[in-house]
């Protein structure tokens, strides 16, 4: 958009923005409010808690649900980080080749990556479940990292390929003429330009792995490898007749916080990384 908005336009944009924000944030606020409610007050029909309590948080962090939640948190962080790291390294190499070199099968790689990413996860979960049980990958970190790569790799390759395609590679040569060694040229001229793209891709890949539920619930059975989204389903109330809604809400808030913080810190880079390929390429 160029030019300044007129008063009228500004008004309508504000209205639309508020509506979208309400629509997007209402569930988050609702979960946040619920996480501070006492189990007995869950069904009062009030939006905000009648009495604010941190008992739900105590339950998941130091109380009954501690083993379930903290081990799940550890699994989630570990598995997501490893899956992200592998995806970014592989995608960087692949995207470098796609963006920089000309080789037969270039289009095939991109098309295959796209195909993999639109393939519904639910349809391969059952065969994977059987396969993993037979080869001993069921309920292990590796058993989740591999399917997570199938989610994170395609999008990483696409994002990075778009990003790398518009890096002026001539700079590398210019740096060499300016007196740099090949390594110096890469580090001083190319890395500073490629880093934001790689970083953004890493964030996106991390979120995808972090948010996964289907694989997490299907390919794990104990707290050895079960990630947070799956673990939430195993929370139990204090008694059989009490719903664990409060504890689930508290856990949901805890796992949402790192994502929100990361996005807020790096929103500029994420937007730039996502739009660069699309707009300028």
């Amino acid at each position: 958009m160029t030019g300044t908005l007129t008063g009228r336009q500004r008004f309508w944009w504000a209205v639309i923005t508020v509506l979208v924000l309400l629509w997007a944030l209402f569930p988050v606020v609702s979960i946040f409010a619920t996480s501070f409610k006492l189990p007995s007050q869950l069904n009062l029909g009030l939006f905000w808690p009648k009495t604010w309590t941190t008992s739900n948080y105590e339950q998941i962090l130091v109380g009954d649900a501690k083993t379930l939640f903290l081990s799940a948190l550890r699994n989630s962080i570990g598995i997501s980080l490893i899956a992200t790291a592998i995806a970014v390294v592989l995608a960087t190499l692949a995207a470098y080749a796609i963006g920089r070199l000309d080789f037969p099968g270039k289009r095939l790689i991109l098309t295959a990556a796209l195909g993999v990413s639109i393939f519904p996860a639910i349809s391969i979960v059952t065969p994977l479940f059987n396969l993993w049980r037979n080869i001993g990958l069921y309920d292990t970190w590796l058993g989740l990292i591999i399917p997570y790569l199938s989610l994170t790799l395609p999008i990483s390759i696409w994002t990075l390929a778009a990003f790398f395609r518009q890096i002026p590679w001539e700079l590398e040569q210019a740096a060499q003429v300016d007196g740099a060694t090949s390594w110096q040229a890469f580090r001083k001229a190319i890395v500073p330009l490629a880093a934001p793209g790689v970083f953004t891709t890493a964030l996106i890949a991390f979120f995808i792995a972090w948010n996964d539920f289907v694989y997490g619930i299907s390919l794990t059975s104990t707290d050895r490898a079960r990630p947070v989204p799956a673990a939430l389903a195993f929370f139990t109330g204090a008694s059989q007749f009490e719903e664990p809604t409060g504890a689930i809400s508290a856990a949901a808030v805890v796992v949402t916080i790192p994502v929100v913080i990361l996005v807020l810190l790096f929103q500029r880079q994420i937007v730039a990384g996502l739009t660069q390929g699309a707009v300028k390429g």
């Binding site: 700079l171 740096a175 300016d178 001083k188």
Partner: protein, 422 residues
């Protein structure tokens, strides 16, 4: 400053494409040499081989008499300005210019770097932009930053790869004089690649014309203009381009579509038994007969031309005169047009006349030309049958003397000012 010598340089690309077919060149210290030719003639490849970004398939490249074929680019100590400037977008103008200095770790103190960058920025009038990022600069400013990066270094030679092709026409003219002034004042060996013959003619001490990876001719701009070695060089150099007419030899007369020209015994001998030739006449060699002094008229050929279109440019006037061509010659000229990246146009003759001329379009008007200045080419080999080697040498020697005098003057100015670059 350094001399650069190319001996039989050949470049074959990985896919077997022969891009440069054995080019030999001697570039003297402090000389400004232009590599010019239409696209695909191998000029950029040649430059990239000199700087070391492209492997040399065979032949020798010598800088200051030392073979550097296998040296890495950084060891060759040459500075290059790229076509798209290749500025580092994440660095400020200051850091862009300082980049080569910072690479030589420990060589310069922070103070020295600042001093050198300041000198370069002043030379190029970039002082006000040192803190800006390249993205915020205009085309001309980016171009100057790229040049700044070249001049801060103690480079042995400057290499330019079509540096002005991304600028608009007005800026191009300004930067052209800027580059020329810079080269003279620094007295540094320079190799400059362009496809634009105007740049080649105005900038170079010597111009090397390339066609399909082969060196056609290397001479001073005047030498190329007046004594092109073949049809290609004749057609490439000069704007508007040289007129090519079919010439049929009939006894002692050369029959052109516009007039019959008597053959001198000398030319008659050079033509040998050729029946058909291509005749080249520069547009500015035509004169409006009405404006010609009477005593000159008999020395040349006067003919009546039916002028189709007139372009009055203030300083001169272009008259376009259609003519019937010979089919054999037309085929040859089509081939030439393709080589020159041009389109086959209708056969017409361009005469650059004095702006005082009273020629009107649609009118028949007497024009005059001197057959002694006419060039005659063999239609098969494209060779210039009227080529005069002695004349070229005389022109080149004169040019060389002028160049040396200019360099001495520049050196004298520098020492008088008490500053030395670097």
């Amino acid at each position: 400053m350094a001399s650069i010598t190319l001996k039989d340089i050949v470049k074959v690309y990985g896919d077997g494409y022969l891009a440069v077919k054995g080019v030999s060149l001697d570039i003297a210290e402090g000389e400004f040499v232009i590599l010019v030719g239409p696209s695909g003639c191998g000029k950029s490849t040649l430059l990239r081989m000199i700087v070391g970004l492209e492997d040399i398939t065979s032949g020798d490249l010598l800088i200051d008499g030392e073979r550097v074929n296998e040296e890495a680019p950084r060891k060759r100590r040459l500075a290059m300005v790229f076509q798209n400037y290749a500025l580092y977008p994440h660095l400020t103008v200051f850091e862009n210019i300082a980049f080569p200095l910072r690479l030589e770790r420990g060589q310069f103190t922070e103070e020295q770097i600042r001093e050198k960058v300041r000198f370069a920025a002043e030379t190029l009038e970039l002082q006000d932009h040192l803190d800006r990022k390249p993205a915020n600069l205009s085309g001309g400013q980016r171009q100057r930053v790229a040049m700044g990066r070249a001049i801060v270094r103690d480079a042995r030679a400057f290499l330019f790869d079509e540096p002005l092709s991304n600028l608009d026409a007005k800026l191009r003219g300004q930067m052209r004089t800027e580059i020329s002034r810079l080269q003279r004042s620094l007295g540094i060996t320079t190799v400059y690649v362009t496809h634009d013959q105007t740049e080649a003619m105005t900038l170079g001490d010597r111009v090397a014309v390339l066609r399909k990876g082969e060196l056609q001719q290397i001479a001073s701009p005047r030498g190329l203009y007046e004594q092109p070695v073949n049809l290609f060089v004749a057609g490439f150099i000069g704007s508007p381009p040289m007129n090519f007419l079919p010439g049929e030899v009939e006894g002692d007369v050369l029959r052109l579509p516009i007039a019959d020209v008597p053959l001198t015994p000398e030319l008659r001998e050079r033509l040998a038994d050729r029946r058909l030739v291509i005749v080249g006449i520069r547009p500015d060699h035509f004169v409006d007969a009405a404006l010609l002094e009477e005593h000159k008229r008999d020395a040349g050929v006067t003919f009546d031309a039916v002028v189709d279109v007139i372009e009055w440019l203030g300083s001169e006037l272009y008259a376009y005169i259609p003519f019937e061509t010979h089919p054999d010659v037309a085929a040859k000229l089509d081939e030439l047009d393709r080589d020159l990246d041009g389109e086959s146009m209708r056969t017409q003759l361009v005469a650059a006349l004095s702006s005082e001329s009273r020629v009107r379009d649609g009118e028949s008007h007497p024009l005059w030309f001197d057959p002694a200045r006419m060039l005659v080419f063999d239609p098969e080999t494209w060779e210039n049958l009227t080529y005069n080697e002695a004349a070229v040498q005389a022109l080149d020697e004169q040019n060389e003397q002028d160049r040396k005098a200019a360099l001495e003057r520049a050196a004298a100015r520098l020492s008088a000012a008490g500053t030395t670059p670097g």
